[in-house]
Symmetry: C2
């Protein structure tokens, strides 16, 4: 398997971007990633687009060639990958696999989502497509209600408190304040989280990531070329995909996310590293409970201890185990197909040492963790400084 | 790059399958491909699903885990690939790349589409998502009208006659009569094609593939394992992706499909073979014109000569250059995401020598060609007997 590096990364502003189209977002992110890589479109020989909802909400499918044309590279082979909220992470991995296999030398990955515009009910319906429509959606569940059930069970079995859960949101909002591209740049207190409108008991509005528009892009290339092309290449040290049942009612347990455990194991093994070697991580926190499950599934904390660790500040920017310095999906925003790619963007900058006010000092190895649905899809990448 | 083989293949009946759901089709095709491979679900370490319209027409997305759960392999990492009518071919290629890169040893690919049920206008709208929605669909074009324009130009520039074009449909319908799984098992004459209701001048109903439901599946694995696992493994000798502008009005010419030319070149180079070595081919014929463009783009005939060659019977089952022995999309049916995978199924059986009445005698090397949209996506696989 050929080694792969990342030589370009970008993200647009995340938010409710009323005046930006899907095409606008693709062009902005794609062109900026190419500029960052110092490459023109003619140097790219594959395009991968991560997106979930454009066919349903925007009436646009065949998103590979759609994006290629928008970027002025219509003759570059392009494919669209969908894995619900994990679409971005899955798209990055497809590009890494293509370069590893030698089918491409330099691939551009674009994660993009244009969610706002339609009525909220229509957006929620489009997102619910990621659950089993027959057995979950048709009986009235949404992702908030599914994850609320998992949260209740987790709190019941492991004794985690509502305050410990809320600490995840407080921390990520604090980090997001330092990120000029974040959707919700707003400090929140524990009381704010606890007293916010209830979405699905026990999850309040601040336990849930927002509905956002945005795009992010990365350029991956064969490592043997990366050194010549960029002064600060970032190496893909390992990657792995993990899975679990799409339906919550088919899971053997709600207190452990098997997909994260397995994806992490595969990625750690490939990288030849364990959790202790990770200096900084971007973890999926579409709902606060998911960050706790990820912290445990990836081996950062023992089972049942992630809540207390979060409450104690261990996962804060200045703590020993910094998680979601970007603000996470919670504060930075969650434009579904873009989220996983934007996580990679954040870790690339952390490892380059260019993350500004939210820099984790001396970060050399980072981990990116993307989830789709209530955990059915998980993709993990481990990145390391290549300079 | 690790060599890859195909050790299992299946397809369901294609047709208007009113009483079959998306899930039913996935299970039937997936289980049959595993049986053909002699493997249980536990032997599969990756699943790729090719589908275009389920999110829009069926409200179901996150199709990787959806299919994995349906097949009783919920913990197998799964991803959904979309490339319009080329989704199936693109899905096969993603699996081949993953096995080549060493990220999977044995991958199951499922192409599936459930189109019938909704009103015809709704189906047409869902399929039109593969064109550029802003500049093509919003001004009232459909794929039939886009390809009709290409046909007109092709006939004008190259002198191909309406009868020569119709010969493609006549030939593929004749082949489809020999395929018990084909949707439209109906002999048609040149007069039938010419006198059928006009869809978009000059294309009549018999120049257009039908709206079908169906699924197909293949099992790909590392070649080093294939010999032990199956008595008649089929090797992936080469593969390539090609692209061109998504919008017809952005193409440099309508009389040559650049995506097919480029995908063919890449695949031929990898296989170390040229068009003369191909014994049998399944080419995309969603509209009759596309088969002519493919025959020329892949080097089987010189530019402008494919129509006369088809009319002369050179591409018939018993001719020197047999094309679409399965009946093609035209007669076999075109359940979008399934079509590209079903093309592979056909070539696998041709090379195994198990294609029954439609067997091309002594076929040792075959080519599969899948198109998305009006040509923006093209994926080519070259397969060879591995026994």
């Amino acid at each position: 398997m050929r080694a792969v590096s990342i030589i370009g990364a970008s993200m647009t502003q995340f938010g409710a971007l009323k005046d930006r189209t899907l095409r606008d977002l693709i062009v902005e992110a794609g062109e900026e990633a190419l500029r960052d890589a110092g490459l023109g479109p003619e140097a790219i020989d594959m395009l991968v687009v991560g997106n979930m909802a454009a066919p349903v909400l925007g009436g646009q499918n065949h998103l590979g060639p759609f994006a290629a044309a928008a970027l002025g590279m219509p003759d570059v082979p392009a494919v669209h990958v969908e894995a619900a909220c994990g679409s971005g992470g899955a798209a990055v991995r497809e590009a890494v696999l293509a370069v590893s296999a030698g089918a491409a030398d330099s691939a551009l990955v674009i994660g993009v989502e244009k969610l706002t515009g339609p009525a909220t009910g229509e957006i929620t319906q489009a997102l619910a497509c990621a659950a089993d429509v027959d057995t979950e959606v048709q009986v009235g569940t949404s992702f908030a209600s599914l994850l609320a059930m998992a949260t209740r069970r987790y709190m019941y079995e492991l004794g985690t408190t509502r305050e410990e859960l809320a600490a995840v949101a407080v921390k990520n909002h604090r980090h997001g304040l330092l990120n000029p591209k974040a959707h919700l740049r707003k400090a929140v207190t524990l009381e704010d989280v606890l007293n916010a409108p209830m979405v699905a008991d026990p999850l309040t509005r601040f336990d849930c990531s927002p509905i956002s528009d945005g795009a992010a892009a990365v350029v991956v290339c064969a490592r043997e070329r990366a050194r010549d092309r960029h002064a600060r290449p970032i190496d893909v040290l390992g990657h792995g995909a993990g899975a679990q049942a799409i339906s919550l009612h088919d899971l053997p347990t709600l207190t452990e996310m098997g997909s994260s455990v397995r994806a992490g194991q595969v990625a750690y093994r490939m990288a030849g590293l364990g959790p202790a070697a990770i200096d900084v991580a971007e973890l999926h926190d579409g709902f606060t409970i998911v960050e706790l499950l990820a912290l445990e599934g990836l081996g950062f904390f023992d089972k049942g201890e992630a809540g207390a660790a979060s409450y104690a500040g261990l996962t804060a920017l200045e703590g020993p185990r910094p998680v979601n310095p970007s603000g996470g999906l919670k504060s930075k925003g969650h434009p579904v197909g873009a989220s996983g790619v934007a996580q990679v963007y954040e870790i690339v900058h952390q490892l380059r040492g260019t993350a500004g006010e939210r820099q984790v000092a001396g970060a050399e190895v980072g981990l990116v963790h993307s989830i789709g649905g209530s955990g059915a899809t998980c993709v993990v990448h481990i990145l390391g400084r290549g300079f």
